[in-house]
């Protein structure tokens, strides 16, 4: 199961990539494998604000719907509209298929997330 260095990871199997004050968020290789074939991603609206662990949208496989939580609080600044037509890219390229970008409201929240080494342990 692929885990990339340099990203933050949440207990709910989201990855977070921080660039300046903006974080891109997607789901991990482990998560996509667990979910199975993804057929729909429900994206949040730009400018919506969310608190930590609030549901921003959903990922749906053939069998089931799962909430996508944001592991960090802030305002949505961009969503990956490519997923509307190609939701399966979450399966084929989980670390490339970011779901949303959020403007961080509190950078210290990142401290409660795992690094790659800790996440590898977590999914063992």
């Amino acid at each position: 199961m692929k885990v990339l260095d340099g990203l933050f990871y949440s207990n709910d199997h989201e990855w977070v990539k921080v660039e300046g004050n903006i974080a891109s968020v997607g789901i991990t290789d482990f998560a996509q494998e667990q979910l199975g074939e993804i057929v729909f991603v429900e994206l949040p609206a730009i400018d919506d604000e969310f608190g930590v662990d609030e549901a921003i949208g959903a990922i749906e496989s053939v069998k089931a719907a799962s909430d996508v939580l944001t592991p960090i609080s802030g305002k949505i600044v961009e969503v990956n509209e490519d997923l509307d037509d190609a939701p399966e890219s979450v399966n084929s390229d989980p670390y490339g298929a970011w779901i949303f970008k959020i403007e961080l409201s509190d950078k210290s929240e990142l401290e409660s997330l795992m690094d790659a080494a800790a996440y590898k342990e977590f999914i063992k």
């Binding site: 199975g36 074939e37 057929v39 729909f40 429900e42 549901a55 749906e60 053939v62 089931a64 719907a65």
Partner: protein, 354 residues
């Protein structure tokens, strides 16, 4: 999953890298290659399903015909030997004990094939209502595979000398397949042509069909296939809360014969409130089992019984009978009310050989 029952094909599933899950007390394959690829394989080629968890109950006795009619909603009066009929067992109030296939050997011997999740309950129900002094035997230790798809007959034919074209739709025969004694019926749960094969010795049949290129199909695609063919699933379209008239299965309920639940179903038919309808989402999303159906004012008018994103997002739902094709409704999906419309329940044309 160590305390779960295994079918005789368990090792074969592991060998094929199936994702295994608990299902009604058994450890069963939910998928092998993937649900979408497996679904497609059955529509265009052939797939094989391990359905050994299904329940098989033999009914024998002088009054077997009278007994089966007493517990069965379909009319067996004209059922001939080696014919299979689909129908339901109902409670006195008309809700459903189970749906089942009835295989007629002769007037004194029938095989009932029931849902895995209901088999213990069914066995009790049959015994409780055995006013005809028949012998009721649970033979669910028999294994069963379904081979389904446009290539099913051609590929199963390679394992038997019996000319399979001699088995008409919804008929069965007892023959040898790969040298093993089997019951073979031209039945299934996919909307495709194909067979269900029962045997106490099924492993070599499975292995040979896999070697012939038949794709293994898990429970995931079993559900998308039966849904797309508008075939009901107990616990979704029918249940001990839903009766078959309102579930739009009236053609399998013959109210001119007497069976348990008939009087209640007659009254329900006269004053019917609900029907099973097709729904297609217009907004983006997926309607799923249990989601509410709403009218324009946001009032709950019904419930989704099964829904999937296939080539479009479609569902079966129980809604009031007065709704018509093309009517606009809404589906409550998480915190959103998504626009949808009533469509035909016929999501696909079935490819039966009749």
């Amino acid at each position: 999953m160590s305390d779960l029952k295994r079918t005789s094909l368990y090792e074969n599933h592991i060998k094929l890298n199936a994702k295994m899950v608990e299902f009604t007390g058994y450890v069963m394959p939910i998928q092998y290659e993937g649900i979408k690829a497996e679904h497609e394989a059955v529509r265009t080629h052939a797939g094989i399903f391990d359905v050994s968890h299904m329940g098989e109950i033999m009914v024998e006795g002088k009054m077997a015909t009278e007994f089966v009619q007493y517990i069965f909603t379909n009319d067996i009066t004209n059922q001939v030997e080696n014919q299979v009929l689909y129908g339901l067992m109902c409670y006195e109030n008309g809700t459903v004990v189970d749906d089942l296939l009835v295989y007629k050997y002769n007037n004194e011997k029938y095989l009932l094939v029931v849902n895995a999740s209901n088999k213990d309950k069914d066995f009790e129900w049959l015994n409780k209502n055995n006013s005809h002094n028949v012998k009721i035997t649970d033979i669910s230790d028999i294994s069963e595979v379904a081979v389904q798809g446009p290539k099913a007959q051609e590929l199963v034919q390679k394992l038997t000398d019996y000319d399979l074209s001699q088995i008409p739709f919804f008929h069965f025969t007892e023959i040898t397949v790969d040298g093993k004694e089997c019951i073979v019926s031209r039945t299934g749960y996919t909307g495709e042509d194909g067979f269900e094969i029962y045997s106490y010795d099924i492993v070599s049949i499975w292995e040979k069909l896999i070697d012939l290129g038949v794709k293994p199909i898990g429970l995931g695609a079993r559900d998308t296939l039966r849904f797309e063919a508008t075939l009901p699933l107990y616990g979704n379209e029918i249940s001990n809360q839903i009766n078959p008239i309102e579930a739009s299965l009236g053609i399998f309920v013959k109210l001119d014969v007497d069976f348990i639940g008939r009087d209640a179903l007659k009254k329900i038919k006269e004053n019917r409130k609900l029907k099973s309808a097709g729904i297609e989402l217009i907004d983006r999303g997926i309607p799923r089992h249990g989601y509410s159906v709403l009218n324009k004012d946001g009032d709950v008018i019904g419930e989704v019984t099964t829904g999937y994103m296939l080539d479009r997002a479609i569902a079966l739902a129980m809604i009031p009978v007065e709704y018509k094709l093309g009517d606009e409704v809404f589906i409550q999906v998480r915190n959103k009310q998504l626009k949808a419309k009533i469509v035909s329940r016929k999501f696909m044309n079935k490819n039966y050989k009749k």
